[in-house]
């Protein structure tokens, strides 16, 4: 898997993990917060219940105390007390009782009582609001309480059943003048003074109620929820719940938690929730009221107690949910936005990738394809990118070199680009198509980096340069043709010049020879003088030929290692005598200087030519010619500006000749190397042609810098030889006075040359045999082969040339010794005879010294 994809997938997983973690954290925090809120909520609710419960107890106590005091104020009132005692008398009349009634009536109603009784110790009613109640017996429950009170203190009863109703009584003992308990003053509490009224104040909210129960758990105050109890079958319709309902868990014999624990301590509470007498879950607080012998219980339904908490919780969950949903929506729309951007980005990238004519593909670090554009597929011959994706591109398209030899992936420049983090460019290799064919490519490989700067692969861009190559080849061909044409043109000029010069020389030779032949008898001395002029003319012709060969770059070089500085020093006297007056040479010669391999004579000729030209450029005025030698490194760019025959970049020793003369314009500079181009009245215009030829022949370079009116600088660069050889004298040895003997056959189609050779050989002591061509030579050789010690043969002849003749001669006698002569230089002439045991070679024109040396080597001895 590519690193980028792995990284993206890892980022996705990490993102999801972080979101999940955030969710869990939010849930945990919410849960803890809600728990805390619930705890505080319940604490607050219980505190409220406590407040209500204590307030109820307090009110009840106050009310009881007030009522007892009120009752006592009556019994302590002397006239009333007297009337009460009178009523208790057996003989009490109705008017006494009516008087008591009249006196108590308005007080009763004004103090919240509804009735009164004077009760005998035996439970009979001595007086009351109703005359008709006279003499009746009170209910058993009341009678029990009356007995209890008779010898004690005032007592507030619980609600006691009275028919279908309940009544609460305040019982106060009545004492006679002697302090004897004679009866009980019983006040009936008005409903507004019942426990119920006070307990009703302990109701709030929708479920909070405060109620009183007796020791058995019977309700002493009406339930707030009588309708509910009736509906649940716990209470008969039309009945009060007081004394009719017990605070038990419905459908069980179990008291409610509050009732079960009301006597455990003075007060208690349960905030966790327990089953109330209605069956629902309630929280409650309670206390045992010893004064009233009852428990005061305040309860709230858990639903209401936690209502606020539940609302908060729901709101919080809603907020959380909303937050999550909106977060999800935001994340989704952001992801959509990102995708859209990415898609647009991809579309743009694809458009760019697909619209470009260049082929582009991507590689990961394993060299596998990560993408490829249409141009790439088209050039490689694939249908779709899927065929390339994930495949090793080197094995697919770069497995072999152009010649079919395998291409190691480790050496592949594309893989080097991402391994070495560098940009690579190559135009010497080929890519292989799907069909197995290859094509030359020019490609660039750029490494790709991720955000942290690590290489993740590379992008390769390539072009099919088949057409480019064809065009280059065609251009080269055309250039060669042009060069050929130019050479032919040059040859034309050259031939004309040669013809002209040779005509002059030949005229001199012809004239002198004719004069000599006429005077050879009459005036041998004059004839000898004429003949010497002939020889001089021949020497001039020979020099001319050497210059021609030098121009062609194919002159005979006597190559040896030499020091340019030393060479210049050697020719200084020659240079100085050729200068005009007023011109001086300034030398600046480097020492030591690396050796070069060159023909010393030609080097001297070059320097002489350059100095001569410089001298002439100064044109009679006084001036300085600088000759400088040195060593330098010349790169290709430098060499591009030089004249020469594709010199190779490297170290060069140089000699620089510079003058402050008239200089040259651009047109002149372009033509100075053309043969026979001259700006002088004298001279043949071959000097600079020869210089360039010599430079070419030595694989050197010639740098020209010239400005009209300022001067000219020529810089001759010659490659430094890599290994210094011991200086070897390769010069032509001095001719020893060697004399040969035996028969030598001279084969040449030109009679003058043939005769000259015969003459010279005979002068050496040989006997000669002459043949005009190869055929004739073969016939003579067949006839007199045994005698012939050597053959001097021209290379170029009609009918049968030297080469064929040589083969035939060798067929007749493999040991035949043949010395070849030719106008061409030795390398060109004898290259077809390599390994054929050529006895020797003499370059024309043949001088007596060279002939003697060659013959000596050929026949030995």
């Amino acid at each position: 898997m590519p690193f980028r994809q792995m990284h993206a997938r890892f980022s996705d997983y990490l993102g999801n993990f972080v979101v999940l973690l955030f969710l869990l954290f939010a849930l945990l925090v919410s849960w803890l917060s809600l728990n805390q809120i619930r705890k505080y909520e319940m604490q607050s609710v219980v505190a409220s219940l406590h407040a209500v419960n204590f307030s109820t107890a307090d009110r009840l106590r106050q009310q009881s105390e007030r009522m007892v005091a009120e009752s006592a104020s009556l019994t302590d009132n002397e006239p009333l007390h007297g009337l009460m005692l009178a009523c208790l008398q057996a003989d009490a009349d109705e008017m006494t009782r009516f008087a008591l009634r009249q006196q108590l009536a308005s007080w009763l109603v004004a103090h919240g009582f509804s009735d009164f009784y004077i009760v005998n110790p035996d439970g009979h009613i001595a007086a009351g609001m109703r005359q008709s109640d006279q003499g009746k017996v009170v209910s058993a429950e009341l009678s029990h309480k009356v007995t209890e009170v008779l010898h004690g203190e005032a007592l507030l009863t619980h609600p006691l059943p009275e028919g279908r109703d309940v009544r609460m009584w305040l019982l106060t003992p009545l004492y006679d003048q002697a302090g004897k308990s004679v009866g009980v003053f019983a006040l009936v509490l008005g409903e507004e003074r019942h426990f119920a009224q006070v307990a009703r104040l302990g109701r709030y909210g929708s479920t909070v109620e405060t109620y009183l129960v007796d020791r058995q758990g019977w309700l002493l105050t009406p339930s707030r929820f009588e309708d509910e109890l009736i509906a649940g079958g716990q209470l008969k319709p039309g009945h009060s719940s007081v004394l009719a309902v017990r605070a038990m868990q419905p459908h069980t014999d179990e008291p409610t938690f509050a009732v079960a624990h009301m006597l455990d301590a003075r007060e208690g509470m349960n905030a966790e929730g327990y089953i109330g007498y209605r069956g629902g879950l309630v929280a409650g607080v309670w206390q045992w009221d010893r004064l009233h012998d009852a428990a005061i219980i305040t309860e709230i339904d858990m639903g209401e107690a936690l209502g606020s908490y539940q609302r908060t919780r729901n709101l919080l969950l809603l907020l959380l949910g909303g937050l999550l949903v909106s977060g999800g929506l935001v994340a989704r729309s952001y992801a959509g936005y990102r995708r859209r951007l990415e898609r647009q980005d991809n579309e743009l990238r694809n458009l760019l990738l697909e619209s470009t004519a260049e082929a582009i593909f991507g590689l990961d670090l394993a060299g596998r394809c990560t993408f490829a554009n249409q141009s790439c597929l088209r050039m490689l011959g694939y249908e779709s990118a899927g065929e390339l994706m994930g495949r090793n591109m080197h094995l697919l398209l770069h497995h072999s070199h152009a010649d079919g030899s395998p291409y190691d992936e480790q050496l592949c420049k594309i893989s080097l680009s991402y391994r070495n983090k560098t940009r690579m460019h190559c135009r010497e290799e080929v890519f292989w198509r799907r069909d197995g064919s290859s094509f030359p490519v020019e490609y660039w490989s750029h490494p790709m980096f991720d955000e942290s700067g690590h290489v993740v692969g590379c992008v390769v861009t390539f072009l099919d340069i088949t057409e480019l190559r064809k065009a280059e080849e065609q251009r080269n061909r055309i250039e060669k043709q042009i060069q050929h044409t130019q050479r032919l043109e040059s040859m034309g000029v050259l031939a004309g010049g040669i013809a002209h010069d040779f005509n002059n020389i030949l005229s001199a030779i012809l004239g002198n020879a004719a004069l000599a032949s006429r005077k050879v008898i009459s005036d041998p001395l004059d004839a000898r003088e004429k003949l010497e002029k002939v020889v001089q003319s021949c020497d001039r012709a020979s020099v001319l030929c050497r210059q021609m060969l030098a121009y062609s770059g194919k002159g005979k070089f006597v190559v040896r290692q030499l020091n340019l500085s030393a060479m210049v020093e050697e020719v200084t006297h020659l240079l100085e005598v050729s200068l005009d007056k007023g011109v001086v040479i300034k030398y600046s010669l480097a020492d030591p200087l690396p050796l070069i391999e060159a023909d010393e004579a030609q080097m001297q000729q070059v320097v002489m030519n350059l100095v001569t030209n410089a001298n002439e450029a100064i044109a009679g005025r006084s001036g300085v010619i600088s000759i400088t030698t040195g060593v330098m490194h010349a790169d290709l760019r430098y060499l591009m500006d030089c004249y020469g025959d594709n010199p190779v970049a490297g170290r060069f020793a140089y000699v620089e000749v510079s003058d402050a003369g008239c200089g040259m314009d651009a047109a002149t500079q372009q033509r100075i190397f053309d043969p026979f181009f001259t700006t002088k009245f004298t001279g043949r215009g071959l000097g600079m042609s020869a210089v360039l030829g010599i430079v070419r022949g030595h694989h050197g370079a010639l740098k020209l810098y010239s400005e009209p009116g300022k001067g000219t600088t020529f810089k001759l660069l010659l490659p430094v030889c890599e290994q210094a050889e011991s200086s070897q004298e390769a010069a032509i040895e001095r001719v020893s006075p060697w004399q040969g003997s035996g028969l030598v056959m001279v084969v040449d189609d030109e009679e003058t040359v043939r005769e000259t050779a015969v003459m010279l050989l005979e002068d050496m002591g040989f006997t000669t045999l002459a043949a005009a061509d190869g055929m004739e030579a073969l016939e003579l050789f067949r006839a007199r082969g045994q005698e012939i010690r050597a053959v001097l043969m021209d290379l170029t002849m009609p009918r049968m040339g030297g080469e064929e003749c040589f083969r035939e001669l060798r067929r007749i006698n493999p040991d035949v010794r043949v010395v070849l002569t030719s106008g061409y230089n030795e390398q060109d002439a004898i290259q077809t005879f390599t390994g054929k045991r050529l006895a020797g070679f003499i370059q024309k024109p043949v001088s007596p010294d060279r002939l003697r040396k060659a013959m000596h080597e050929a026949v030995g001895g």
């Binding site: 009516f98 009536a105 308005s106 009763l108 109603v109 606020s308």
Partner: protein
């Protein structure tokens, strides 16, 4: 923490509102219908709280006069001096219904003692102390427990105005004098020999109204006779307020006269305007 939560929860939703308070005081007779009417009005207008106090018709008048209440309740006609004060103070009197005063005896007398109708004179004699035993009226041999009300009570003034020929006519000194109607009811129920008087709406539930015989004509309290004024022991119920009282006060008074308010009045035992 909790306060903070509540604040956060409620901050966005609760618009703080200033509750308007309408203070009503006066006749306990009118109060019987005013309290449920106040509750009903508060249900309809949670921003208005109506507080109702008793104190009697005279207190109702004076409360509005001196500004202790915005609405006064009266269950009697204005005295002449009250009328002039009303005009001076820029107050208005609005009739909201009718009440009739019924003469009531303890249930045993009504059901078993044969006391179901009394002449106006007989009732007056009882209250003046001229008749002291039910036996004198062909009832059981029981002394008559006369229950009277405080003189300033509207009900008593209606009663005394007709029976004793003077709204402030005295009753016998031994009479048991009570304040609110509730006390009268308690005593009438507790006793088996008492006589008293109650607003027509308070009768029933063991409290039986006597037929009053006046000039041979038997008067029975019912809505028709009350509304048309033929029942002699009847009176109009009024509320008073200043003319420049705030709009929410006047709106409440209008509510009392509306069908909804009149229904409440009828349910409270009174006789609606129509």
């Amino acid at each position: 923490m909790r306060r903070l939560m509540l604040f956060l929860l409620l901050a966005g939703f609760v618009v703080p509102a200033q509750a308007e308070i309408v203070e009503v005081a006066g006749s306990t007779t009118v109060r019987a219908m005013m309290e449920p009417a106040a509750d009903a009005w508060h249900q309809l207008h949670p921003d208005v709280v109506v507080t109702v106090r008793g104190g009697g018709s005279s207190a109702g008048f004076s409360s509005v006069l001196d500004g202790r209440a915005q609405i006064g309740m009266m269950s009697r006609e204005l005295e002449p001096e009250e009328l002039s004060l009303l005009q001076q103070a820029g107050m208005v009197q609005v009739r909201i219904g009718f009440d009739a005063v019924a003469v009531v005896v303890s249930e045993p007398l009504y059901l078993r003692g044969g006391i179901a109708a009394l002449k106006k004179e007989e009732i007056a004699a009882i209250y003046r102390g001229d008749i002291r035993n039910w036996l004198q009226l062909d009832g059981p041999d029981r002394p008559i427990l006369v229950i009277d009300k405080e003189k300033e009570r509207g009900t008593r003034q209606v009663f005394a105005g007709y029976i004793l020929d003077s709204t402030h006519g005295d009753s016998l000194p031994e009479a048991v004098v009570v304040g609110p109607n509730h006390d009268m009811k308690t005593l009438l129920q507790a006793s088996d020999q008492a006589i008293g008087f109650l607003p027509f709406g308070e009768t029933g539930d063991h409290l039986h109204a006597l037929r009053v015989i006046d000039g041979g004509h038997h008067y029975v309290a019912d809505t028709g006779s009350v509304r048309d004024g033929s029942y002699p022991l009847s009176r109009s119920l009024y509320v008073l307020h200043k003319k420049d009282a705030p709009a929410y006060v006047q709106e409440f008074v209008e509510f009392l006269c509306s069908p909804h308010g009149q229904a409440i009045l009828r349910n409270s035992g009174y006789v609606p305007l129509q």
